[in-house]
């Protein structure tokens, strides 16, 4: 019975999908980026949904959540990070040359937050999935827009690496050296779910710097409410990661039985949880 509101919301989202608006916005890097925008109730906070690593806003977890929120009357903006690809419409392959960075992505998020703020003045809630949550955390660690009122990090994950801490530190040092030396030759390193990510040192460095500790520290330094929605069966997380998140000041909501993508029957749990978290903003 507790899934019924979500289903109704999805049904309503389908009905009003005609109101969806494709947004193209020139980013600070001069490249055009795409997003989908739904104008919802101005009585409710606007929500910016950010996709995971190398994905687009059409990734199912984000898309379904967007539709749920839209159905619930929220103004929703789901941008696709350009990742230095003009008007990127597809997921970027791991084998592609990745020239993007956490910083560049943060600038694009900022641009979208500002655009959303212009579309609907008031509070903005940021909802990220997977590394998208890390990306929003990084954005919020910088100079975020004041309209941002809350971060809901779904299946937040650090920039995973199979390297040991020591090896990772050595790699980061090497990458830092390369960056300083202006070496732009692409390297292949495992980043997140990419076993072989082709990217210049600067890109690799920007992601690999975000170790679990740095993530946990950044959470502690944020001055807005943060909620983590995690799946109890998320097999992409490091050991004890959910527990570590629970030990932060942020609110932890665990969906029992859900995996990293919160799909299947857990999709509605996610939607319900997010909407619950958005209440009162």
């Amino acid at each position: 019975m507790n899934k019924l509101p979500g289903a109704i919301a999805l049904f309503l989202a389908c009905i009003v999908s005609a109101q969806a608006e494709k947004i193209e916005l020139v980013m600070p890097n001069k490249l055009m980026a795409r997003a989908e925008f739904h104008q919802g109730s101005r009585e409710k906070p606007a929500v910016l949904l950010l996709h995971g690593f190398l994905q687009t806003h059409e990734f199912p977890t984000i898309f379904q959540l967007m539709e749920s929120l839209r159905g619930a009357g929220f103004t929703v903006l789901a941008p696709t990070l350009s990742l230095n690809v003009p008007a990127r419409r597809q997921s970027l392959a791991c084998e592609a040359i990745h020239t993007h960075s956490i910083e560049g992505n943060s600038r694009e998020i900022d641009a979208w937050v500002k655009w959303l703020g212009r579309k609907q003045p008031g509070g903005i809630a940021l909802v990220g999935h997977s590394i998208g949550s890390l990306q929003l955390l990084a954005y919020l660690g910088g100079n975020p827009d004041p309209a941002v009122r809350k971060l809901i990090a779904v299946s937040i994950i650090e920039s995973q690496s199979p390297l040991t801490q020591k090896q990772r530190s050595r790699l980061v040092a090497d990458l830092l050296t390369r960056v300083r030396q202006g070496d732009g030759s692409p390297l292949v390193q495992p980043v997140s779910f990419c076993k072989k990510l082709h990217a210049p040192p600067a890109t690799l460095l920007s992601y690999l710097e975000w170790t679990p500790d740095r993530v946990l520290k950044r959470i502690e330094h944020l001055n807005l409410p943060v909620t983590f929605v995690m799946g109890s069966r998320d097999d992409r997380l490091g050991r004890g990661w959910i527990e570590k998140l629970g030990q932060t000041r942020a609110r932890l909501r665990v969906v029992e039985g859900a995996n990293h993508f919160m799909d299947g029957e857990h999709e509605f749990d996610l939607h319900d949880l997010v909407q619950q978290e958005l209440q009162g903003l």
């Binding site: 230095n84 690809v85 003009p86 990127r88 597809q90 040359i97 020239t99």
Partner: protein, 734 residues
């Protein structure tokens, strides 16, 4: 026009038939061969058309593929990424496109161009894309360079789907041949021969270039194989047919030609050999062809029947042969058999001594006329029986005709022949001929000629026998006469010249030239009438009675000859040769006296010459057997106005017996009797004088023949003869 019928042997017909079949098969084979080639050419043209269509379809498919691949690549995020940040362009071009499976297998080169049309980086491809492009919209160009045909897709790349934000251009270059090969397998077109009919370096929009690709059709192995297989099959078929025909020839020869030829040869041999006992048509076994076997069986059956028929006919022929050589009446051999036997003897070089005996029934014609033919036939049969009974077993009796019989006695001497002849006469004498109703005895005359075996005498043997037989028939002669050299003058009897003359005179009375001898009235010796004496002109010769009458009498031509003489005399009368007041004495033979036709002719003459004195002299009265008829006819002659004279009175032919029987007016004393009046024998002279006196006293006028001297004339005049004739008064006048 009707052509002459052409007869060919069965083997030739068979060969012609086989040749005809071979020719038909050859024509059929040629026709099929032609059809195969024609169909092959038609299929080749269709193959070429299919190749064109196939290459055109492939060309359009490549264009679609290229457009699709180019569009896909242009819509790829990483492509737009390269147009934004070109740092890793070569990785994108050389690695990423292939890694993302966005390349085309036939792709020779791919490049990105800036919005200004400049290439982002020079290509290292062997056949690179141009460094600048002038295009502003999507286009696919066809070009031919470096001996390769290429299709190049130029397309703008936009940042947004609506195409408002131009990022640059994408170019994708395909090797057309490779692309087509990868696209599909070609059944008709030989892709390696693909050429583009465009100048080197020129580029043509594919929308106007669909017909530019030219390609040579692939050799159609199936078609070639089928064609080859068909031809091989036809060749095999032809060989099989030829073998079958050869077999047919052999079978035809074995089953039909050879048996037929054998039959023909056997039949020909049968025909040529004419051997009736030749074996039947043989064969090693039954003939394979039912009709031939039936023919052979039928032919053999027919031959068997023919053989039986032939045997029957042979028997018949023998019977006919025998009958043809037998006289039906007498049972003796006939003239044909005689002539054949004679010819056989004449051809036999070892001609033996041989005697020819000719028999002739005396006065047979008179017997026939008097008693009828049935009596005559009985006489002939009895005579033959008598003669046959007198012969040895191996001797043959021949009936040569009428009452004439002959015998050929081999290895006989004249004495033996005479003995046979006497035995024959004896048998005749002993036979009772009265049983047939006759009142007179039958006598036969026998002429015998003998040859010693030399060819010359053999040739003359028949003639000699004839002469001997005629001699025997003469009055007062022996009934058996051997031929002797003194008979040479009698050859006339058998001379063909005289015989021909007689027959010619009968046919044509103009051949008869009458002479007339005056008959003088005594005692003044004035010519009262003339006696018509017959002569016959034969070519240059003039034949007299001595040459004619033996033939006439021997051949029984008396009536016919007398009628011819009457006609000749009538002609002389009508022509005036005989003056109207000139009396004529005409001789009429004994057979004519009893012949109604001859009497009728004489009566016609008498009545036609009414007023002329006509005397009918009857000769050979001794031969008259039908006295009643003769008397009646004489009476008719006298009633018609003619006088009737009994000629040759006193000779063997005329005697007192006949004088008393026949009503005559005149009696002509034979020259032998007249000459007796001057005989030295007193008795002969007295008898003659007494007979003359007796005849005259009976009221007959008496004519003396043969008056040659005055003394004889005076003598007969003194005795009271009323008429006289003879050379004393002059020779007969012609």
């Amino acid at each position: 026009m009707r052509l002459p019928a052409l007869s060919l042997s069965i083997s030739r017909i068979a060969v012609l038939y086989i040749l005809l079949v071979v020719m038909m098969l050859g024509l059929l084979w040629g026709y099929f061969w032609y059809e195969i080639n024609t169909t092959g050419a038609r299929l080749l043209r269709q193959h070429e058309t299919n190749a064109k269509l196939e290459i055109r379809d492939a060309f359009l498919a490549v264009e679609r593929d290229l457009r699709k691949a180019g569009d896909k690549l242009a819509d790829w995020d990483e492509t737009r990424q390269q147009l934004a940040i070109q740092d890793y362009y070569s990785i994108w071009r050389d690695v990423r496109i292939r890694g993302a499976s966005l390349h085309h297998e036939a792709m020779d080169d791919v490049a990105l161009y800036s919005r200004e049309g400049r290439i982002l980086a020079r290509s290292l491809a062997p056949d690179p894309l141009p460094e600048r492009i002038p295009v502003t919209q999507a286009v696919i160009l066809l070009l031919h360079d470096q001996n390769h045909s290429h299709m190049v897709y130029y397309r703008p790349v936009h940042a947004d789907p609506s195409g408002t934000v131009l990022l640059g251009y994408l170019a994708m270059k395909l090797d057309l041949t490779v692309a087509m090969k990868q696209l599909r397998s070609f059944r008709y077109a030989a892709l390696d021969s693909l050429i583009l009919a465009i100048p080197a370096g020129a580029q043509i929009d594919v929308r106007q270039a669909a017909d530019i690709p030219r390609v040579r059709p692939l050799p159609d192995p199936d078609m070639n194989t089928k064609q080859r297989l068909f031809k091989q099959a036809m060749t095999r078929q032809a060989l099989v047919m030829l073998a079958a025909l050869l077999l047919a020839v052999l079978l035809l020869r074995f089953w039909l030609v050879r048996p037929l030829r054998g039959l023909s040869t056997e039949i020909s041999n049968l025909t040529s050999s004419q051997e009736q006992d030749a074996p039947l048509l043989q064969a090693s076994g039954p003939l394979r062809v039912l009709e031939l076997e039936s023919l052979r069986t039928s032919f053999n059956a027919y031959r068997q029947r023919l053989r039986e028929l032939h045997g029957h006919l042979e028997q018949k022929s023998r019977d006919f042969y025998d009958q043809a050589r037998r006289d039906a009446l007498s049972g003796a051999f006939n003239r044909r058999a005689f002539e054949e036997d004679w010819l056989r003897i004449a051809e036999d070089r070892r001609t033996p001594a041989i005697a020819l005996l000719l028999f002739d029934c005396d006065h047979f014609k008179a017997i026939n006329d008097t008693y009828g033919h049935h009596v005559g036939d009985s006489v002939i049969q009895a005579t033959a029986q008598c003669l046959q009974s007198a012969l040895r077993t191996q001797d043959r009796l021949y009936r040569l005709g009428g009452d004439e019989f002959a015998m050929l006695l081999r290895d006989n001497d004249p004495a033996q022949a005479e003995m046979v002849a006497e035995r024959c006469l004896e048998h005749i004498t002993k036979h009772d001929f009265y049983q047939y109703g006759m009142r007179e005895p039958i006598s036969i005359s026998v002429g015998i000629a003998f040859s010693q075996g030399d060819q010359h005498s053999l040739t003359a043997l028949q003639k000699h026998a004839d002469l001997a037989m005629y001699s025997a028939k003469r009055p007062g002669s022996r009934k058996i006469v051997f031929y002797g050299d003194d008979m040479e003058d009698m050859e006339v009897l058998v001379s063909s010249r005289e015989v021909n003359a007689v027959f010619r005179a009968i046919r044509d009375p103009s051949c008869i030239e009458m002479s007339y001898q005056g008959v003088q009235r005594l005692p003044r010796a004035e010519k009262e009438y003339v006696e018509a004496l017959v002569r016959v002109r034969y070519d240059e010769d003039l034949l007299g009675p001595a040459a004619l009458f033996p033939i006439i009498q021997s051949r029984g031509l008396d009536v016919e000859f007398d009628q011819a003489v009457i006609n000749a005399i009538r002609h002389d009368m009508q022509s005036g040769r005989l003056p109207a007041d000139q009396g004529v004495s005409i001789n009429l033979s004994a057979p004519s006296v009893v012949n109604s036709k001859a009497i009728s002719a004489m009566l016609d003459l008498i009545r036609a010459e009414n007023g002329r004195k006509i005397v009918v002299e009857i000769t050979e009265t001794a031969l008259i057997t039908q006295m009643d008829i003769a008397t009646s006819h004489i009476k008719q002659l006298r009633e018609a106005g003619a006088l009737v004279a009994l000629d040759d009175f006193g000779s063997g032919y005329s005697s007192l017996r006949y004088l008393s029987s026949m009503p005559v007016d005149l009696v002509k004393f034979d020259i032998s009797m007249v000459h007796m009046l001057e005989s030295d024998d007193e008795r002969q002279r007295l008898i003659t004088e007494e007979i003359a006196a007796m005849v005259m006293s009976a009221g007959y006028a008496v004519v003396a023949e043969g008056i040659e001297t005055l003394s004889l004339l005076e003598r007969v005049t003194h005795l009271g003869f009323s008429h006289a004739q003879g050379y004393y008064f002059g020779k007969p006048e012609r």
